[in-house]
Symmetry: C2
Subunit: 387 residues, 2 copies
């Protein structure tokens, strides 16, 4: 890591390593507006830049994480569960901003409590019923002896959040239960995760998205999101995703869609621009993760700051019918306190990578059954450069 | 109000009153993606739209508010104080997100406490020293018998937040004190507020901005901001403000600046794109206000949601060296509970109006002494359509 960690001491040195795009994200602090008196010299701040996406541009670019989905579209089902699990446990925190949350084991994530780590986190469809999926994850964890050791056995720590997809395509009564969580856990691997209509994204308005980023301080930050907001991730004036400006290396590869496609989508029903659903039927749930060693309160702060990524990619956000909940997870045990510069870079990266995960959900989720039409089906002219 | 408050019951009716731009903001819920089974009919949601800015497009468009500034640029000063006060008291709450806040009397704003209203709120330069400005506001309030009556006298409730402008142009030791607060209170009026380098904005990196919006449910929402973020409100790739897309009725009237101006600003020091300052020298402080009758906890939620407006207009946001604090204020006493639709419209409007206030600060603050160059000085080609 040391070779990519640049303390900045002089103006010439600072200029020499100026990188335009990354600068606005991580180096707002480099150039001085005027000459400060000597006693107010700015403290030397390490300059941390974005190197690019991680190898798979997905959540599993964070070492130590496995991701598994279980999805059903048969027998009246159209929902699913996504499990993010660790072998070693991970430090975790969360932020809850929407007005209609459905969560389990989140109070335990408040800093200062006994438990500072989790075995897994569950993102699921099924509204409050879907929280049962976490029980299946706990069952697998108990069978495999992952959890907090307490005398005769283990208690696995598996926080969960749900989104509201009941009756949106599938039958109201067909929703994730413990078996979904168990099977998603069995399926979990460290293989690349593909955004689309799978797991937590199957019943969600806009599907599931994931993205990652590699920072010059050596850390990776990644996100996964189940996208079901009351607001819209697509700007009705351009018919492009709000979060498109966060793009790294042409990962979305969109062009301005034709005016007639945009007009038709805005006028018609069921288009991606009409907002996801009515107030009681929404929620965006997400997880941001890093291999930076964080305290539990820092993992929580990372989740809190990541809300800025939702605000930049969805509008309006945190509505009364949204249960918006973001988990933060750090897979490396806390050893020494990170510098403010490292923390800030990781937190800001969490915001941007979550915004990018939202855009991936939008552009990569295809229509399944009566679900929302895929973005590239709705706006083929926007997607001509995509394979 | 009743005539602009449209309960929406049928699809035809919903289509008939579809308005493109406002739809993405306040009516993400109108059109259904598919036919839900009968038992899952969406509840009728009133449709609330943006009518336009308020008459002055500033904070005083909210009835019941007076705004006053006191600014010094003589004798080594370059700082100031802004006071937002009420005659009747106002319900208030707040949200604190940045990593380096300077605040006074904010614990009192937590919901459920004894005091549910405030006489005034102070936004000031001067870092933690500048909190003294609130004492001068209290002095004026005591002299004029505004406050909580307690036996022999009154105790005025005057929460305050500061931003860090010490030594940035002015002398480090020349900072707002009680006299600033007193004089700003005396100067306060319900006249239109002009964005620019005044009051809390004098020493701030990007000045002070204000904006308002009028909703079809009859309520006005407005914001004021002292803009001094570690992040940047200008996108370095376009050299346009991030929050430009929130514009109402050409209020900013910018065009794409010439590439050479953008390049020069990104390469040079002191340009608007270099981020405001080093980590220990920042903070964005703001107030969002409405004449909707809110509970204290709702005023706090309005402030919390308004952070989305900061996230959309400043990047990165809520850094470790930012003391970002947003106050929420409701000038109409709580009588009956607002509908979810009304609350959601007011909260989302608070986010957007705060984002617009940020852009007003950027484009309307001019250079004073050694302060940052004004946006239109830096990018004259972006401002050719502005008078």
């Amino acid at each position: 890591m040391d070779q990519s960690y640049h303390p900045v001491r002089g103006r010439a040195e600072r200029r020499a390593c100026w990188t335009l795009a990354a600068a606005a994200v991580f180096v707002p602090t480099v150039l001085a507006a005027q000459q400060p008196p000597a006693q107010q010299q700015r403290p030397a701040m390490p300059r941390i830049t974005v190197l690019g996406t991680g190898p798979s541009n997905s959540l599993t670019d964070v070492p130590g994480l496995k991701v598994g989905h279980y999805t059903r579209t048969d027998s009246g089902y159209r929902s699913g569960t996504t499990v993010i699990r660790t072998e070693q446990g991970a430090t975790a925190g969360y932020s809850q901003m929407g007005g209609a949350p459905g969560t389990k084991e989140t109070d335990l994530l408040k800093p200062g409590g006994q438990v500072r780590g989790v075995q897994a986190i569950v993102l699921s469809g099924g509204s409050a019923y879907g929280l049962d999926a976490a029980s299946g994850v706990m069952q697998w964890m108990e069978e495999n002896k992952f959890g907090v050791f307490v005398g005769a056995g283990v208690v696995p720590i598996v926080p969960a959040a749900i989104l509201m997809d009941l009756g949106r395509g599938g039958d109201f009564k067909k929703r994730p239960d413990a078996s979904f969580g168990y099977k998603a856990t069995v399926a979990a691997s460290n293989q690349p995760v593909k955004s689309g209509r799978i797991g937590v994204g199957m019943g969600a308005g806009w599907g599931m998205g994931t993205a990652s980023v590699k920072l010059s301080n050596g850390y990776t930050v990644a996100a996964i999101v189940g996208l079901n907001p009351a607001g819209s991730p697509v700007d009705p004036r351009t018919c492009l995703p709000y979060g498109l400006f966060l793009e790294i290396d042409n990962e979305f590869n969109l062009v301005q869609p034709k005016a007639e496609e945009c007009q038709a989508a805005n006028a018609g029903r069921g288009g991606p621009n009409d907002g996801s659903d009515s107030a009681p039927r929404n929620t965006t749930i997400a997880l941001v993760a890093t291999d930076a060693p964080l305290l539990d309160l820092e993992a929580g702060r990372m989740a809190e700051i990541a809300n800025a990524g939702l605000a930049r990619s969805i509008r309006p956000i945190h509505n009364i019918g949204d249960g918006d909940t973001v988990f933060g997870m750090a897979t490396t045990p806390f050893t020494t306190q990170l510098s403010n510069a490292d923390l800030q870079a990781v937190f800001n990266a969490a915001a941007d990578v979550l915004g990018r995960a939202v855009v991936h959900a939008v552009v990569e989720s295809k229509q399944v059954g009566s679900s929302r039409m895929g973005y590239c089906q709705q706006y083929p002219s926007a997607c001509v450069k995509r394979k």
